[in-house]
Each structure stands twice: as C-alpha cells, then as structure tokens.
C-alpha cells in the first residue's frame, strides 16, 4: 500500500496575495457595503419587499453577526426613499364620546401645522371671547334681557301693589314671601283698629285681600316661566356672540385644510363644541380653596383643560420623512410596538385623556418597514401576540395592557384603530425560525418569506473585495485608520480561518468588525498612518492570548505530567486523540490519551465513557461503529472472543462527538494485534463501518493544540498529526505551524482509511487478504487474527472445561 505523503506548507495555509487588490489602502475605496455572496437572501428580501399582498413579511435568518440588518438596511436604503411618504396621523377629542378619541389622517407634514393652528386658535379664543363678552354691546344686551325680566316681574307686582294701595291694602315683604294687609297712613292696621271697623268693611277688606292674594299667586306661578325664558334668551345671546366671534377664526383654519375632508368634518364639530362651551374661555376668579391645590387648580387648570380639549395629539409626523419610513425597534415591548395610553396622577387618582395616547413603532413605521430582533420580541410579554394581531387585522388598536389585564382600575380610553400597511422584518437565528415554524401556526401565515443568510462567502476575488469594502465602510463609519492592502489580505486570511475553509470566507461580519477595531487600536498605539498586516496579526495574537489562560493551564499540567501525554515513545493500546475545548466562545485544541485493553469475552466493545454516562450519544454511536468494523473484519468465520474497553484517560467532564473514533479504532487494533503505536503522532477523524476516515470539525485548533505541546517539549521532526483527507481544504494553520512543517520539524498527514493510518502509526502494514482468504502474519490484521484465534482457543478450552465441571 502506498502511504499518503505529508502535506506541503502551501496546503496548510492559503495566503491571500495583497497584489490581488487594485487599491493601496481602504482610503481608495468608498463603495457601500453590499451583500456579497448572499444572493439567496437578497432575492428573498427583494421578493418580500416587492410583493404587496398580506402576510408576505420577512424573517431574515442566520447566525448573529452575519450582517442581516446591514444587508436589509442597505436594500431599504435604496428602495425606501423612492416610495411615497405615508400620511400623518393624529388623535383628536371625540366631543360626543370622549372615551373614544378619533383618529385623523392627514397628508404628510400637515398634522404638525394643524396642531400649531389649533394651539393658536385656543390662545386666540382666550382673548377674543372674553373681549366679546365684556364688550359694552354684550353687557348692554345682557342687562336689557335681565332688566326686561325684572321689569316684567316688577310691573306685574307693582300693578297689583298699586291696585291694593287704591283700596288701602299694602303689599308687604315677609321673611318667607309676601302678604297683603289693610293699611292706614303707611302702617298696617292694628287688630283692634280692624275690629272697630264695620262688619261690611271688614268683609270687603277680606274679600279684596283674597282677590289680591289669588292674583299674586298667579303672577308668582309665572315667574319661573319668565326666568326660563330669560335664561333661554341669555343663552341665545351667548351663542350668537360666541358664534360670531369663533366662526371667522375657524373659517381661517378651514380654508387651509379644505381639501382634507376629515379635518373639515372635525372643525365643524369643534366649532359647535366651542360655541356650546364658550364660558370655558371666560376668565373666572379662582376659588381660593382650589388655589391651594397647586397648579391644576383655578384659572390655570381651566385654561389647561381647554388647551387639552382642543389639542391635536400628533401620533405620526412625517414632515421630514423621505420616502417610506424604515424603523428599527430596539426594545420591542408591547407598548413600544402598538403604543400606549399613559395616565397621570391627579389628586390621588389616575386619569387619562386622548393627549396621553403614545405612539408605537408600528405607527412610526406605518407605510414603510419595521425591523425587529425576533429573540427580543419573544422575550417581551404579549409583544409577539400584539404584533401578530396588528398584522392580521391590518390595524393598530391601542390597548392599555394594565387595563386589559385589570392591573389598574381606572378610566381608560378606546382610541379609534389606525389602518396598518407595513412590512415587518424579523431578524433571528435559524433555530428560532424553525421553532416558530413548527409551533406557531400564525407564523407561517404572517411571515411567508424567509431570507436565509449564508454563514460563508466564496473565497474568490469577489469575496475578498467584499471584505475590503466591509473594512472600508467600518473605517469610514467609525473614523478609524485606513488599512493598507497587506492588512486587508491578513483579515481575508483570518476570514478563511473563521470559516474553517481555505476556499471560503466567514460571513460573520461582527468578528471582522471587532478585528478591524482591534487592529486599529494597535496601529494607533504604534502611531502608524495606516493599519498594516502586522497590526492585524498583533490583534489576532492578542485576542488568542487574552483567552489562553485555561489552555496554558492544561498545557502546563501536561508538561508537569499531571496530565499524561506522551510525544516520543511507542505504546500498545494507547494513542493521542485530539479534543476541542470551548470555554467562553474561544476554542482551542489539546491532545488527550485514549487507551484500549482487551481480554477474553463475547465480542463487545465497552465504552467506559458511556458506562459512566459521561459520553454523549454521538460518541457512543462512534464506538458502536467500531464494533461493526471489527466484526466485519475479524468475525466473519467465528465470533469475536474478546471484550475490549475504551476510555479517554483523565477526562473529568463529558465527551461528545465522534472525531476520536478513528483514534479509538487504532488503539483497539494496537491492543488486539499487540503492535505498539507511535506516541509522537496525534490522530483525529471519525470512521465508518468500512474503515473510511471521515471529516471532522475544528481541525486547525486540534493540530495547533498538539503542535503547541510538542513545541513546548521540543520538536523532534518525527511528530505530526493524522487528519482525514477530506479536512485538507479546511486547513488555515497558524504561521508557526506552517514554518515548522516547512523546516521538517512537524508533519501533517492526510489519511483516507484506517489501514493507511495504522501503518503510519505502527510502521507495520495493515495487511490485505490473500488468495486463501487470510491476512499475512506480519501485518496488523494478521497479528490481530492470530491473537483472536489464540483467544478463541483459550475461550473454547475454558468453556469446555467449565462445561465438564458442571456435568
């Protein structure tokens, strides 16, 4: 068998040639960020934003930091300004039903001017109405009406009084009313004087008094009617005066808004209300008791109430909006989305009115686009439901949550709903999209379009230029030092490393952005004009160093032999596997010892990790695959007569993944065959039942982990790592590893199946079946078969002797 050759330094790291770039520094670039390599997502965005039907809202899915928001903002930045500016909206008092404020729709920019006009109107009314009502004309007319009533009353009574006086009968005021009595020289007759009169005279007086009394009663019965008539006349007068004063002011406003039917309708009801309630504009003397109660009392409170009554609460003001609005709601709480009805505390109770209606993001984005982070939306109580309700009903209905759930018991409002025409764009991770798709039937109705963002960009020249423009835009936006092309090239290389693929670039813009900022810091510290490749390298190294405490502790323990890892000798049933640790998001690789022991048994492979419940399901699956491989290779003709046990030595936490399964198989083959394994190799790669070695993740970190340990102990030139051949394209190794390989001090060997691997690890060929169906005895397989036969014999002997004993 021809063994695979070691990888060349060029295969370990794909450099980005700075000369590929046609610019010297990012100062030469001014192109905006484009969603390069995101064609699928971009098509979805274009489709969703273009289609006008209900429910075609967008869910942009992909890992955080992949620039979903930037891409969408970029798209909307070009399309939204072309769209029509949506209408303004405001809430006004509903004079008939104050609990149901009315929503007014106005052309963009008109709501603010209407609000100002109304404010000026109310201010003017506080001047013109008192002036009209204090005018001499009004006073004279009012006095006339009152005097007419007084005269009417006085004339009627006076006539009666006069009639009485002719008969010597006086009309006298008593504490509770009136009375008639006979008089003489201005004084009421004394009883004895009266009794001295003749009977006829007395009877006559009595009759006259009764007649006068009856007449008086009929006059008094009419007084309330006269009073009512007087009040009615005063009311009419007031109405006429108020109407005469108010109409020209409102007509002036009406002229400015005559094309807007809703406004003219509102102005009509407003005019009627002002005329009906003109007295609120008249200055009244403040009640001294009220003035003790602070600013809400007396004249001030009356004036304030009038201002509020006729105020325009502008909910949406698009006066300075260009095109369709694009709103990103950072805190999508329910009340921030659909708006809220606030309350103020007034003398110990909570009160509200239509001026306390607060807009939400849906109002601001109505007629345009609303971007929301899906995770934050789901974290806010009731917010997701409120958003769905608004989208489903196509209207924004403001409901106070506290009122809805009876948290407060106070008077609240039911504002007229506002029609909603909006595209909502949710941004979130794929898992969130999947969960919502499965568990929420409304979701797929309302968010019919998914823009699936790629994790990686192609590593071709377009991708590299995209990186350059991303760096340039960050530099421009945050006013950083410009990057020269070597620095850009180094960031591109780092992008490949992040993508774990030398032919790709990571689409995780956030990481690139961080690296740009960190590199700028080091360039600025060194007082450079431009950021160069060495600054980028310094930033990368510094970041690794900052998070290397645990890695170095583990390496230190290994060097002190607290963790046993051999990198020099040869041992049977023992191999160096490679594990990845990811504490706090920064991952690193480190070797771990895997051992295998065999004994007589019934052919099972015992995974000690699984037995103690420290192994994950994928790891257990890998070990079971080994049983399948061993069975197929060695137990076709007879059962396996051994039991093997496998363990990750000195592992005190769980083990997951199948990337060590090839290492476990090599350890098992070594243990069965008795061929020692070279400990200066480390192995990674999973294996299938046919013995093919398969790709794994984190190959760079794993290689570097073993390299760092070997380097700390001194590189001998024999040391190396066996990786699956299918992982070669993932290699973007550190410069020191590449250099060591170049100098022949370290090697990386791609293997495609276990036979290649075991030969490299033991120096003994794996062996193939000859024409007689047997493995050559001096091969690993041959040695294994011989050992298995030997064990089978022993087992047979042991079984028959125990059977004899039993008989």
């Amino acid at each position: 068998m021809t063994l695979p050759s070691k990888l060349t330094p060029e295969e370990l790291y794909r450099t980005c040639n700075p000369l590929d770039f046609g610019f010297n520094t990012t100062a030469d670039l001014d192109c905006p960020v484009k969603a390069t390599g995101q064609k699928r997502a971009f098509d979805a965005i274009t489709f969703s934003m273009g289609i006008k039907h209900d429910g075609f809202n967008l869910f942009a899915l992909g890992p955080n930091g992949t620039g979903k928001q930037t891409a969408i903002m970029h798209f909307l930045g070009t399309t939204a300004p072309e769209a029509e500016v949506p209408s303004d909206w405001c809430y006004v008092n509903n004079f008939q039903k104050p609990r149901h404020p009315k929503a007014l729709k106005l052309p963009a920019g008109k709501a603010g001017s209407l609000a100002r006009d109304m404010e000026h109107l109310v201010e003017a009314l506080f001047t013109v109405i008192p002036a009209a009502f204090s005018s001499e004309e009004y006073q004279a007319q009012e006095k006339n009406i009152h005097e007419k009533f007084q005269e009417q009353q006085a004339d009627a009574i006076g006539e009666l009084e006069k009639k009485g006086a002719e008969e010597h009968i006086a009309l006298i005021r008593t504490p509770a009313g009136f009375a008639f009595a006979p008089e003489k020289e201005g004084e009421v007759l004394k009883p004895e004087e009266f009794m001295m009169l003749k009977k006829e005279e007395r009877d006559s007086i009595e009759e006259k008094i009764i007649a006068l009394k009856t007449a008086m009663q009929s006059i008094m019965a009419q007084i309330p009617k006269w009073q009512r008539e007087t009040l009615e006349k005063i009311k009419d007068l007031n109405r006429n005066i108020a109407s005469f004063t108010v109409k020209p002011l409102i007509a002036e406003i009406r002229n400015s808004y005559e094309a807007i039917q809703e406004v003219t309708g509102y102005l009509e009801t407003l005019e009627a209300d002002i005329i009906e309630n003109f007295d609120q504009f008249l200055e009244k003397e403040a009640d001294p008791r009220e003035s003790l109660m602070g600013v809400y009392s007396g004249k001030f409170s009356q004036k304030r109430a009038s201002f509020i009554r006729y105020q325009i609460n502008v909910i949406v003001d698009n006066s300075i909006t260009e095109g369709a609005p694009v709103v990103y709601e950072d805190k999508p709480a329910c009340q921030n989305l659909v708006g809220d009805i606030e309350h103020i505390s007034h003398m110990g109770t909570l009160v509200t009115d239509f001026t306390l209606i607060k807009q939400g993001a849906l109002h601001r984005a109505n007629g345009g686009y609303l971007l929301i982070d899906a995770r934050r939306l789901l974290f806010e109580p009731f917010a997701y439901e409120a958003l769905k309700k608004a989208l489903r009903t196509r209207q924004i209905r403001i409901e106070s949550l506290a009122q809805l759930y009876s948290l407060v018991s106070t008077v609240s409002l039911e504002p007229e709903p506002i029609p909603l025409d909006i595209k909502v764009i949710l941004l979130g991770e794929r898992s969130l999209y999947n969960i919502l798709s499965v568990y929420d039937p409304d979701f797929s109705e309302l968010f019919k379009v998914a823009a699936d963002f790629e994790d990686e960009l192609p590593g071709d020249i377009d991708g590299k230029l995209a990186y350059a423009s991303i760096i340039s835009s960050i530099v421009h936006k945050d006013k950083l030092h410009h990057f020269d092309r070597t620095a850009v090239a180094r960031i591109v290389e780092h992008g490949s490393r992040l993508a774990e693929d030398s032919s790709k670039l990571s689409a995780h813009i956030q990481s690139i952005c961080d690296l740009v900022h960190e590199s700028d810091y080091y360039a600025a510290s060194a007082k450079k004009t431009f950021v160069q490749a060495e600054d980028v390298q310094k930033a990368i190294d510094a970041k690794i160093f900052r998070s290397s405490r645990i890695r170095e502790k583990i390496r230190e323990a290994t060097l002190k032999d607290s963790i046993l890892i051999e990198t020099d000798s040869e041992k049977i049933g023992q191999i160096n596997g490679l594990a990845i640790y990811s504490p706090g998001g920064q991952s690193f690789g480190h070797p771990g010892r895997i051992t295998a022991r065999v004994r007589l048994g019934k052919g099972e492979v015992i995974d000690i990790e699984r037995e103690v419940e420290m192994g994950g399901p994928i790891h257990s699956k890998g070990v079971m695959i080994l049983s399948g491989f061993l069975g197929a290779r060695f137990a076709i003709d007879q059962p396996l007569s051994l039991s093997a046990s496998l363990v990750f030595e000195q592992s005190y936490s769980g083990v997951e993944g199948d990337s060590a399964s090839s290492a476990e198989l090599y350890a098992l083959l070594s243990a069965i065959s008795g061929a020692p394994i070279r400990q200066y190799f480390a192995v990674t790669g999973s294996v299938n039942q046919f013995g093919q070695v398969q790709a794994i993740g984190g190959v760079n970190e794993k290689i570097e982990g073993f390299f760092d340990l070997c380097k700390a102990r001194e590189l001998t030139g024999k040391q190396g790592v066996l990786i699956p051949v299918s992982n070669v394209h993932n290699l973007m190794l550190r410069n020191d590893v590449v250099e060591a390989v170049r100098q022949g001090l370290f090697s990386i060997i791609p293997v495609s199946d276990v036979d290649e691997g075991i030969e490299i690890l033991t120096g003994i060929p794996a062996g193939e079946l000859d024409t007689t169906g047997k493995y050559p005895p001096d091969t690993i397989n041959g040695m294994a078969v011989a050992r298995l036969n030997e064990m089978a014999e022993k087992l047979k002997k042991f079984t028959s002797s125990s059977d004899d004993d039993n008989q």
Binding site: A154, G158, P175, G177, F178, A179, E187, V188, K190, M220
Partner: protein, 284 residues
C-alpha cells in the same frame, strides 16, 4: 374767588358708621362697603336690624296670608313662627356683621329694634356720623329706584348718607366729586378726600358757570389739595341740569359719586339724580 377748605379729619370726622341690615343683596353690599370704610377710617360699625312692625301686626289679622316666594302657596301667619323667622333673620345679620368685623379687625355693635322700618333705621342711626344704606331693600316689586328706607333717609335730611348697590367695592372704586364752589360741594370734596386711600385717583367734576370760573376753581383747588398729597384729576362741565349730569356720569362710569344737595343745582334735581343713577352715592 377764594374760599376756605374744611380742615381734614375735623369737620368731616367719621368715628361711627351705621349700616342697615336686612339680609337683602343690597344690604350685604352695604355691610361690605361700610366695613371697608370703618377699617379705613378706624371707625366703629353699628349694624341696625329692624323687625318690621307691619309684618308682626299682620300675624294678628286672621285673614292675612303669607304667599311663599318660591312655591306661590299661601298659609296663615303663625305669630310664633313669624317671631322665630325674624329672630333668625336678625341672627343672620348679626353673624355677617361679626364675621366681617373679625376679618377686618374693626369694632362693631349690633342693634335690633322694632317699628316701621324707615323711621326706626333713621332713629337708630341718629348718633352715627355716617349712615350706610342699600339703594333698595327687600322690596316686593324689585323696583329700580331707591327703596322706601333710602327715600325716607334722603327726604328726612340725614347726612352724610351712603347709598350702596351690589357690585362695587369700597377698596377699589373710582371716586367722582361734583364741585361747583358751593359750601355743600366743598363739604362733599372734603368727605371724598377723607374716604379715599392714597392709591385712588380722585376725579373732580368742576361745574363752573363760565370757563374762567372753572379754571379759577381748579387752580384754587389744586393749590389746597396738593398739600394733602392726593392724586386728583379735574374735569369740566358747564353748570347744567341734573339730566345732563346723569348722562355725563353714566358716560364716564363714575364709580362712587360724592355730592351734596346744597349745591347750585336744585335739591330736587339732586334727589332725582340720586334716585335714577345706578351708582353708589355719598350724599353730604
């Protein structure tokens, strides 16, 4: 032309003010004005309440019925109920006097007498330096002119006398004095100067027979008044009839009118003016 101005705080010294109280709106206004004046002049205030003998007599006439004001129902008089009503009214009048006296920190007294109202009021106010009356009282006809008590006081010659109507405050009213050079008008001017506070402008309407006489009267007055430190504005009108005066007074919205019925205009014309004019009047 020369004359001697009555010395301030001497001939027109007001130490005791009497006010007639019957709980009507006019009498409440009178009480307010009288109390303000009492405070200003540091005078004693006496409230006078007269139990109307005519009403008491009616209770003894079995065929007399009281017609209630707001129900128009009638019932016969009950002497004890009537007595109680009068007492209640007197008590209310006394309480309003006490309240205002306490607020303004003035001395007060209260008298209740029984008899024919106008005579009793005038008699009770006999020793007071100023009688304050509502222009009309509890008259059943709500007439516009002076009430019976005011008319009686006017005719009886009780001076000085202040007729009040609701809607004016003694603290801030503008004051207009009619001055024609007569002894009566000089006394009116002296009285006006006595009752105004320094921040009130005194308007003097000079009624001269000729223009020269008017100018001369103004010059003479300004020399004397300047010594007293009051702010005075002079207006001129040819000596004329009461009706023209009334039109002028209404036009300038005079406020308190101070005049005498011993001026060059006839006494009857002055009384007619007082009866017709709808402003408070101080008759000296």
């Amino acid at each position: 032309m020369s004359f001697v101005m009555p010395e301030r705080h001497k001939s027109t010294l007001i130490r005791h003010i009497a006010v007639a109280l019957d709980c009507s709106p006019h009498s409440i206004a009178s009480l307010g004005a009288a109390a303000e004046l009492a405070r200003l002049l540091n005078a004693e205030l006496t409230g006078i309440y007269v139990e109307d003998i005519n009403v008491i007599r009616m209770a003894d006439l079995p065929f007399c019925h009281e017609i209630h004001m707001y129900t128009s129902e009638s019932e016969t008089f009950d002497a004890s109920t009537l007595e109680r009503s009068l007492k209640v009214q007197a008590k209310a009048a006394r309480e309003s006097l006490l309240r205002i006296a306490e607020n303004l920190m003035i001395r007060q007294s209260f008298r209740v007498s029984r008899g024919v109202v106008p005579e009793e009021v005038i008699a009770a106010a006999g020793d007071a330096d100023l009688l304050v009356l509502g222009r009309s009282g509890r008259s059943p006809t709500c007439r516009k002119g002076l009430g019976s008590t005011a008319r009686k006081a006017l005719e009886e010659g009780k001076r000085p006398i202040l007729f009040i109507r609701p809607g004016f405050s003694a603290k801030e009213w503008p004051v207009l004095v009619l001055y024609d050079g007569s002894e009566g008008s000089r006394q009116a001017l002296a009285a006006a100067l006595n009752i105004i506070t320094p921040d009130i402008t005194l308007n003097v309407l000079i009624l001269g027979e000729t223009h020269e006489e008017s100018v001369e009267m103004e010059r003479a007055l300004s020399e004397i008044i300047a010594l007293l430190g009051s702010t005075v504005e002079y207006h001129h009108l040819p000596l004329t009839s009461g009706k023209t005066l009334m039109r002028y007074i209404r036009m300038v919205d005079s406020g308190l009118l101070v005049l005498s019925d011993r001026m060059k205009i006839s006494r009857e014309e002055v009384h007619e003016l007082i009866n017709e004019i709808d402003y408070p009047v101080l008759l000296v």
